[in-house]
């Protein structure tokens, strides 16, 4: 018994050691063990270390300059939860289709056209029609004088204001991130191009949806083929969820008209649950799809549209007239109710986004302990010690995240159902 335990411990430790080693190995040609990622202005593997050109006044380091800095856990976490134009599994960068729209027209292809290292950080070595790939994300050179076609890239640089620059050997150019719809609220905005690529998140979504479609089609067929037989296997497992959503969510929260909304509720539930769980699969890219505001925004918007469209006379009367309430109170109640109409889907959007993103960040941070305690490769003992602690913490976190995945899918579905229920309620309760 004890021997078995020892074997397991040794196997576990050697696995952790191998991982530590393999993650640092990719930085070997940078001349030192640098296990962090490249978003904090440090250099990284796979780049030419030509003559550095200090382009901007506020930069500490030159573009493409090798620099063994500290491991920045926050930057790593942010990098890992971001959407990207490559699908990265560990150091492996799988190219994905890109579809880019700028004033110069559409640019369609694979992200491999930027020639990133297959094992690396997703930094392209070539700029194509002003587009570059930095950290797996497509960006565009702002400068109008930058030539179209392929241009060799020497490196990238970040400054303190979150501006990225690309070095082409002779000059440094400011990069535009893709356009976002936040209007500058979260540091985004409309820039010189839009990205309609099949990104990592879109790919994950497609994979999960296809998988769900496949298993549900199989289960639905079983109802026909084995009519009158007790459900078992896959059919039995999925039925548990379907019956749960029907009996605990749709019927109690929506009421009599539940059948009309059942398809949407189940789609939302399984879409969220599937993507939540997909993001938890180790060594599978850790896609943060439901932790992306764009995705939760679409889901919340659909909930809002369906609620508004199916709102009956009673719902609107309750909202806009507030019958049975004293006139003076009405001045407070009605604006609050109208605000609530928009706040409800907003909270839906933010709750799911925040929960899943937080889970992913915590996971990356726990794994980041290995590199913090290992002092970016200087202290192997520290890294090994932290590996054990980090593995235990991460395992705990993963167990917690499994619960969060289920709970968040359930909460989103349940609240959606309750909004539908409020919109279609017939009984006068004043």
């Amino acid at each position: 018994m004890k021997a078995f335990y020892m074997i397991r411990l040794v196997a576990f430790l050697s696995l952790v050691f191998c991982l530590t080693f393999s993650m640092s190995a990719q930085h070997d040609h940078a001349g030192h063990d640098h296990t962090g990622h490249d978003h904090s202005g440090h250099d990284h593997a796979g780049h030419d270390h030509g003559t550095a050109k200090a382009g901007a006044d506020d930069s500490h380091e030159g573009c493409g300059h090798a620099h063994g800095g500290e491991f920045d856990v926050a930057a790593t976490a942010m990098h890992h939860i971001s959407d990207a134009n490559v699908y990265s599994i560990g150091p492996l960068q799988i190219p994905l289709p890109v579809m880019l729209k700028s004033d110069d027209g559409w640019k369609v292809g694979m992200s491999s056209m930027f020639h990133p290292d297959l094992l690396g950080h997703g930094d392209g070595h070539v700029a194509v029609d002003k587009y570059v790939l930095q950290g797996g994300i497509v960006k565009r050179v702002q400068d109008a004088s930058f030539p179209m076609g392929e241009v060799k890239v020497k490196g990238f640089r970040h400054d303190k204001k979150d501006n990225s620059y690309v070095c082409t050997g002779d000059a440094e150019y400011l990069l535009d991130p893709k356009s976002t719809a936040d209007g500058g609220l979260f540091g985004g905005g409309i820039t010189s191009f839009m990205d309609f690529s099949l990104t990592k998140n879109v790919t994950s979504m497609l994979l999960v949806c296809l998988f769900l479609f496949w298993i549900f089609r199989k289960a639905a067929k079983a109802y026909n083929n084995q009519d009158g037989v007790a459900p078992k296997g896959l059919q039995g497992m999925l039925e548990t969820f379907v019956v749960f959503i029907r009996d605990e969510v749709a019927i109690p929260f929506v009421g009599n008209k539940w059948e009309k909304y059942f398809g949407f509720l189940l789609s939302v539930f399984f879409f969220i649950l599937g993507l939540n769980l997909y993001g938890q699969i180790p060594f599978f890219g850790g896609s943060n799809v439901t932790g992306n505001l764009s995705v939760t925004l679409v889901l919340a918007l659909l909930t809002f549209i369906i609620t508004t469209v199916s709102g009956n006379a009673h719902y609107w009367k309750h909202l806009l007239v507030a019958p049975g309430i004293p006139l003076l109170v009405k001045f407070i109640i009605i604006p609050v109710e109208i605000m609530g109409m928009f706040i409800k889907p907003l909270t839906l959007m933010l709750r799911l986004f925040a929960n899943i993103t937080a889970g992913h960040i915590v996971m990356v941070v726990f794994i980041g302990f290995i590199f913090i305690f290992g002092k970016s490769g200087e202290s192997v003992g520290g890294a090994l010690g932290a590996s054990v602690g980090s593995a235990l913490l991460t395992m705990f976190m993963m167990a917690l995240e499994l619960i969060v995945a289920l709970v968040q899918a359930f909460v989103f579905t349940m609240l959606t159902a309750s909004y539908f229920g409020a919109a279609t309620e017939e009984v006068e309760h004043h």
Partner: protein, 171 residues
């Protein structure tokens, strides 16, 4: 510092991702409702109805069985009663037959006895008649013989009559 320094992509609503999410989710919703959710919902409803029907039917069958059992018991009780009645009737009949037969036999015996008595009476009467006839005949014979004999004195006549009477008495 964190958010100003770092590119925090997930919070920025991205046109491409919004577009693809909308498209993928709408197709997913449509296909899943058509291929899986509606058929599963209907199949579940059908199964639940089937189960309810089966339960109702078994309840009905149980009730029917119970009423049938009660009927059987009633019928059995009735049959028992009838059997008892029939037996009683048979017993009564037997008794009455026996009594009747006895009465008849008694009557018959009485009749026979009466007939016998009558016969005896008749025989006796016939015998008496016969005796009377014979006595008459004897008296006539005696008288004849008396008349035939010469009556010699009263003493002799007397003696003769006495002997004759004695003779007659002997008979």
């Amino acid at each position: 510092m964190l958010f100003t320094l770092l590119e925090f992509n997930p919070i920025k609503p991205d046109f491409g991702l919004i577009f693809w999410t909308t498209l993928i989710f709408l197709i997913f919703w449509f296909l899943m409702s058509r291929v899986a959710f509606t058929p599963i919902k209907n199949a579940l409803k059908k199964r639940e109805n089937d189960i309810q029907d089966a339960l109702d039917q078994s309840k009905k069958a149980r009730e029917e069985l119970a009423t049938m059992k009660a009927d059987n018991a009633k019928m059995q009780a009735q049959a028992n009663e009838e059997r008892a009645q029939i037996l009683q009737q048979a017993k009564d009949m037997k008794n009455s037959i026996i009594t009747e037969a006895k009465d008849k036999a008694k009557d018959e015996a009485n009749k026979i006895v009466a007939n016998a008595k009558l016969e005896i009476d008749n025989q006796r009467k016939a015998a008496v008649t016969d005796i009377k006839n014979q006595a008459g005949i004897m008296a006539i014979e005696i008288a004849e013989s008396l008349l035939k004999k010469n009556l010699k004195g009263d003493a002799e006549q007397e003696g003769l009559v006495n002997t004759l009477v004695d003779k007659f008495n002997l008979n």
